[in-house]
Amino acid sequence: MNLNRFLCIAGQGAARRLAVGLLLTTAGVLGASAATAASKVEQPIEFPHDTHAGKMGINCLYCHTYARRSAVSGIPPLQKCMGCHQNIESVKDRPRIKQLFEYWEKKEPIPWKKVHDLPEFVRFSHERHVQRFYFKQERPIQEACMPCHGDVKGMTVAEKVQPLSMGWCVSCHEQDHRIDNVSAKTSNGPNDCWQCHK
């Protein structure tokens, strides 16, 4: 085992979870469903989703490899970027790729800003959604991810296009969805409080 190679990520989040910070402040509930409008967040590198997912047609899960296996999708590790870009001579001189190589040489993670965030008291599982809507229904990956993340083929950095509010989640959970690609059976999403608030 080599713990030195672990990087301490999401430190604040874990500490806060330890302290069980379940503070449902009442007044705040009324607040901001304002974040519905797409808002572009400034990132350390303006990552072009349009090039990767659009022009090159790379499957989302190729980079966001944890989404099918874990509650969180995980930002792709730097090693993932380098796996391809070390071998793509044609774009090596572009400013954004130069930046990427700088991080790699320093062995430093890129300090991405979180775009799709949920409060600590909400547990959303990427794994459940990706397994159902991609693997079981055998839909194109874009269709599985788009309802929440929007059409990234047309974006550079990720933009939040949906409110990710409870009512918005429920509006989809209320609908019937086919359980897989084979049977005609459908089911809706769970509407028990504890499915997400546990």
Partner: protein, 745 residues
């Protein structure tokens, strides 16, 4: 948003129902771009963000050395569980063990070395600190150096011992305030082993004289699982109809006492008299006197029922029932615990109690010998309080110039009469290896911060081994929180040894390398060890437990070696009460008082939180006009404390009990200023044969101060003078049509 009051909020909630938007929720970090999310640079294949990875290690919260597995997610330790591969705890872990993560993440942890400059402790660097250590130990005569340590085992013990040797010193004092050292000494005499194996699960009856084996005694998690088997006698032995019966005899009810079928309060110090009375009655009713010297058989004849009743306060009826129970059901197991052993005649008490096992023929059946450890240098040194006395005497005589203190807080745990705080000042240079700025560190000249137990390497061999001997591995469960601030004591000891014996230790780059080399060189001593060194090391770390090929040995009995003479009980008119300094499972000797989880956990019997209290029998309280919450002054010849009264029927009427662990003047934000410290009150009484501080021999007087507080406790309030479930509103209810919700909510 801030001017919306609760009622308006409820109305709005009613309108929008389930579809109310909670996206914002007053939590600004949910906004896009408000938080940074770091990815891995080069992840391990097995690491998936959001999914935990488990690593095996050893719990260091008490001396039982249970195996643990820690759940690590995104490089952070989140939760500890028991390691199923450890025979000690078999996958279970107690609340004290679970709380270890709060030592690791504690906001009061020391983050950098501190040096006394101009009267106060100032931040310094490790380089300067190590140079200073070399300077202060360089031209020192061996006898001018002393090291006071908490319990040690495994390879750290070897390093510490070698360092003390390298200075030409013999002054390694291994101190623990609560180890059952008297029990160990008497066991050694009687059974030929200090730590015999107990088989609670094989006994039909257990009679425990104050051994709180379910909560605070020796290896509680292990005993708790044996106890569960003991309670399922029918499953264990289909022919035996009855489940095991537990009798607990002690002046103040412990958690084990609360679980007993019969709890017998006894006048403190008279446990030996009762035990000899039982031996006498059992021998008369036909128990074999085999293995018993004639002198013992004749000595017990002086202890008849009338005398027992008069001297111990145990009624004739209860005594008879106990004799019947013990003579009818076999095998049984008789345990001697701290409340019997903490007296000037503690060893005699323990001897009289353990003698019952010989009379009842339990030795070899419910008590066996542990396997023989092939490398005694790694065996646990549990420590004792005689070591503190010796250390304090050395300080008082001005014999020590440089002292090191590790894993002990003697300024807090030493009784007032020792004057340890003053004596410590006589040493020129005092070094505290510590996790917190505790009472002792505050007196030191150099304070060196240590890695938390979840950041450190180590090997442990528990003193009490339940089955075959196991060596448990301790490994870091995450990266250090303060990588430049804290160090492992193993690394410090190695560096110091390199200053003295460079040739011998130059091959070991660090403590990790030392452990790896030391263990792989001896891999032949462990069962199922792979031949390849790397494979062996990986197996040791992934399983966390190494089983030592120990030789089984028969247990011997030598009753003639025991001194069972009992002094006549004495009274004290000026100080009429016996003081029981009660051990709480969470705090032990006070070292865990800065963990808020443990402060918040209600005491098992009284349900009090975040405070100290004095337990007093309701009848005694009635006689003295004391009510719950009255602030009482508890004064011994050596000091006094003031704390709230708690009326408790589980305490012998001539006894008051104050829990240990609180009353810190330092240590951290959660411990400081909470409650009182009964260690300070203790009288200078020592066990005559071992020199152990007699923790249960202090006499006190109790007086009202006139002040009164409301006791903060979980159990609620009762209109009766003592707390019962009667009259308690378990769940408060009100009819829906009677409720005015605008007022209730």
């Amino acid at each position: 948003m801030s001017n919306i009051n609760r009622r308006d909020f409820l109305k709005v909630l009613g309108w929008s129902g389930a579809t109310v938007a909670v996206a914002g929720c007053g939590n600004t970090s949910v906004e896009s771009g408000a938080e940074t999310v770091m990815s891995y640079v080069q992840p391990e294949d097995f690491v998936v963000p959001g999914i935990g990875v488990y690593y095996a290690s050893t719990c260091t919260q008490c001396e039982a050395s249970c195996g643990v597995t820690g759940r690590v997610r995104e490089g952070r330790i989140l939760k500890l569980e028991g390691n199923p591969e450890s025979a000690i705890n078999q996958g279970r872990l107690c609340g004290l063990g679970q709380a270890a993560v709060q030592h690791h993440y504690n906001p009061d942890r020391l983050k950098e070395p501190m040096l006394r400059q101009g009267g106060s402790l100032q931040a310094t660097t490790w380089d300067k600190a190590m140079a200073l250590l070399a300077e202060k130990t360089g031209n020192l005569k061996g006898e001018q150096f002393a090291l006071l340590s908490g319990g040690l085992s495994g390879h750290l013990k070897v390093l510490v011992q070698n360092y003390v040797d390298s200075l030409g010193s013999k002054n390694l004092y291994v101190y623990d305030a609560l180890t059952p050292a008297v029990n160990r000494a008497v066991s050694q005499k009687l059974y030929g082993t200090a730590t015999p194996r107990f088989h609670l699960d094989k006994a039909q009856v257990i009679v425990s004289f104050g051994a709180d084996f379910l909560d605070t005694w020796v290896s509680p998690v292990h005993f708790a699982s044996q106890y569960a088997q003991f309670r399922k006698a029918q499953q264990r032995m289909p022919s035996e109809k009855a489940r095991g019966t537990l009798v607990q005899i002690e002046p103040r009810m412990t958690l084990t006492g609360a679980n007993a079928d019969r709890w017998i309060p006894i006048i403190p110090g008279t446990e030996g008299i009762l035990a000899l009375g039982l031996a006498n009655a059992l021998l008369k009713s036909g128990a074999a006197a085999k293995n018993l010297p004639a002198a013992v058989v004749s000595a017990v004849q002086a202890y008849d029922k009338a005398r027992i009743n008069k001297e111990t306060g145990v009624s004739g009826e209860v005594f008879d029932k106990l004799v019947t129970l013990l003579s009818e059901r076999s095998p049984s197991l008789v345990l001697s615990g701290p409340s019997a052993e903490g007296h000037a005649h503690g060893a005699q008490n323990a001897a009289a109690i353990m003698l019952l096992n010989v009379v009842l023929g339990n030795v070899g059946r419910t008590i066996t010998a542990p396997a023989k450890l092939p490398f005694p240098q790694l065996a646990a040194a549990e420590g004792n309080s005689a070591a503190l006395t010796a250390f304090n005497d050395g300080l008082a005589q001005g014999r020590f110039k440089t002292v090191f203190i590790y894993d002990a807080n003697p300024v807090y745990t030493a009784p007032e009469f020792m004057k340890l705080r003053d004596n410590l000042q006589k040493a020129e240079f005092k070094v505290a290896f510590a996790h917190y700025l505790d009472e002792t560190a505050l007196e030191a000249d150099l304070v060196l911060p240590l890695d938390s137990a979840l950041e450190d390497w180590g090997t442990h061999i528990a003193a009490y081994q339940s089955g075959g001997i196991e060596l448990t591995m301790q490994q870091p469960l995450m990266e250090k929180l303060y990588p430049n601030g804290t160090r492992s004591l193993g690394d410090v000891m190695l560096d110091l040894l390199k200053q003295r014996r460079a040739d011998e230790y130059k091959g070991f780059a660090d403590y990790y390398t030392y452990l790896k080399i030391a263990l792989t060189r001896n891999k032949g001593a462990f069962s199922d060890a792979p031949a390849d060194d790397e494979a062996f090391w990986n197996q040791a770390l992934s399983h966390g437990v190494l089983r030592v090929k120990g030789q089984e040995q028969p247990i011997s009995v030598n009753a003639a070696a025991l001194d069972i003479t009992q002094p006549a009980p004495t009274g004290d008119d000026q100080f009429p009460f016996h003081l029981v300094p009660a051990v709480r499972s969470g705090f032990r000797d006070g070292r865990h008082a800065n963990l808020p989880w443990l402060q918040e956990t209600p005491d098992s019997l009284t349900t009090l939180v975040w405070d100290s209290w004095v337990e007093i029998h309701p009848k005694t309280a009635e006689r003295m006009g004391i009510k719950e919450g009255d602030i009482l002054e508890i004064a011994s010849k050596n000091g006094s404390i003031k704390t709230q009264a708690y009326l408790f029927p589980g305490v012998q009427p001539d006894t008051v009990a104050v829990p240990l662990g609180q009353g810190h003047e330092a240590l951290g934000r959660y411990a400081k200023g909470v409650g009182v410290n009964p260690f300070k009150l203790l009288d200078p009484v020592f066990d005559q044969s071992t020199g152990e501080l007699a923790m249960h021999a202090t006499r006190v007087k109790v007086s009202k101060t006139g002040a009164h507080v409301k006791v903060v406790k979980e159990e609620g309030w009762s209109p009766l003078p003592i707390n019962t479930q009667q009259g308690r509103k378990l769940v408060a209810t009100i009819a829906a049509d009677k409720a005015n919700l605008s007022k209730e909510v």
